[in-house]
């Protein structure tokens, strides 16, 4: 049990750190665009001071670009804020659909770098379970990392949240190369430790090229 808790803590820290790196990286990129666009406006005004006619249309385009990047950075910070609030309480009643949307947003850059497209499909109705949101986000993130490597040529992963028996289920679909993975290579010790905490279950469905994460209505304390 001690081993499981150590693994959960270490895996959680790794997830938190990698997510913060990715988010700060994306924020910096957005800030860099704002800085260069503002710098360009400054350059245009300096040229105007030297007698070059002021291109007002160009100024407007640059102002729009800066506003777009402010929106982008604002959205990134909102995502980070939601992510950190998921640790407010160890056990919460949550909608899995919202959690998947958040993890997808946190993983956006990771997917972009690997050239894989991620889509989130959810039930019209909320899929509610009582769970540890941070540990579940961590597990979904690890499953997505695994899924990205077994998509094959299609390079597309879909995550689907749905009501299942007394709880909820998350399907990771489009895993074309799932049959090629060696027995015992997934889930690893990390996923197994998180599964134990969440009282969840992971199975693979090679025929339908899916990974299934089944969650109880309420995880045991």
């Amino acid at each position: 049990m001690r081993l499981t808790h150590d693994t959960v803590s270490e895996t959680g820290l790794e997830f938190f750190a990698k997510t913060c790196i990715s988010i700060s990286h994306e924020t910096k990129n957005s800030l860099a665009i704002m800085k260069e666009s503002a710098g360009l406006v400054e350059d245009i005004y300096l040229m105007a001071d030297k007698g070059v006619p002021l291109d007002t249309k160009r100024i407007r385009t640059l102002a729009t670009r800066i506003v777009e990047q402010i929106r982008r950075a604002d959205s990134i910070v909102d995502t980070l804020n939601k992510f950190t609030h998921s640790m407010d309480e160890i056990k919460q009643r949550i909608d899995i659909c919202n959690l998947l949307a958040l993890v997808a947003s946190l993983s956006k850059r990771l997917f972009l770098l690997k050239g894989v497209t991620l889509t989130v499909k959810t039930d019209v109705k909320p899929v509610k379970v009582t769970t540890n949101p941070f540990v579940l986000q961590n597990l979904v993130w690890l499953c997505l990392n695994f899924a990205m490597d077994v998509t094959g040529e299609a390079k597309t992963v879909s995550i689907v949240a749905e009501t299942w028996e007394n709880g909820g289920r998350i399907r990771f679909t489009g895993l074309k190369e799932l049959s090629g993975i060696s027995a015992g290579s997934f889930p690893t010790e990390k996923e197994k430790a998180l599964i134990e905490v969440l009282c969840a279950e992971i199975t693979t469905d090679v025929e339908h090229e899916e990974l299934l994460l089944i969650l109880p209505d309420e995880m045991a304390t």
Binding site: K28, N29, A32, I33, K35, E36, S37, D43, L113
Partner: protein, 141 residues
């Protein structure tokens, strides 16, 4: 003569704004939004300095750096990075990068590094040229 620069970053709006700012300052600036495209551009043109983002989809900056140094060893490369990472910085230097700069950056700092890279490349080209001339003289050509 001002330097011929290639700016490589997957953030298109960033490279475009930066290229325009450098062009205003009379630099010959070209842009690229992927590592593969950058390598093709470097193969076909004699850039003095390449400003290269470290983290990009597809080929990352370190892979692109290795390829640039293989095909155009004299072209100077300045790595662009959003976050300081000592390991990547050291690896980039080992692979022949001249320097690195953090985004967002001050244009004056960037220009100073570009000019240093340009001067170093020019000096190396002149040395090679002088060595070739003296070699021909020695061989009685």
């Amino acid at each position: 003569m001002k330097a011929k620069i290639l700016i490589v970053d997957d953030e298109e709006k960033f490279v475009n704004s930066l290229a325009e700012r450098l062009s205003i300052r009379d630099y010959d600036a070209t842009t690229s939004v992927s590592g593969q495209d950058a390598i093709e551009k470097v193969s076909g043109y004699n850039f003095d300095v390449v400003m290269l983002d470290v983290v990009m989809p597809g080929m990352d900056g370190l892979e692109v750096l290795r390829e640039i140094k293989r095909i155009k060893p004299l072209t100077e490369v300045i790595m662009l990075t959003a976050l300081p990472n000592v390991e990547i910085g050291v690896e980039a230097m080992k692979r022949g990068a001249l320097d690195y700069i953090l985004k967002p950056c001050e244009i004056e700092e960037l220009i100073s590094k570009i000019d240093r890279g340009h001067a170093r490349k020019t000096e190396q080209e002149e040395r090679i040229s002088a060595a070739e001339v003296s070699g021909r003289c020695y061989n009685g050509v």
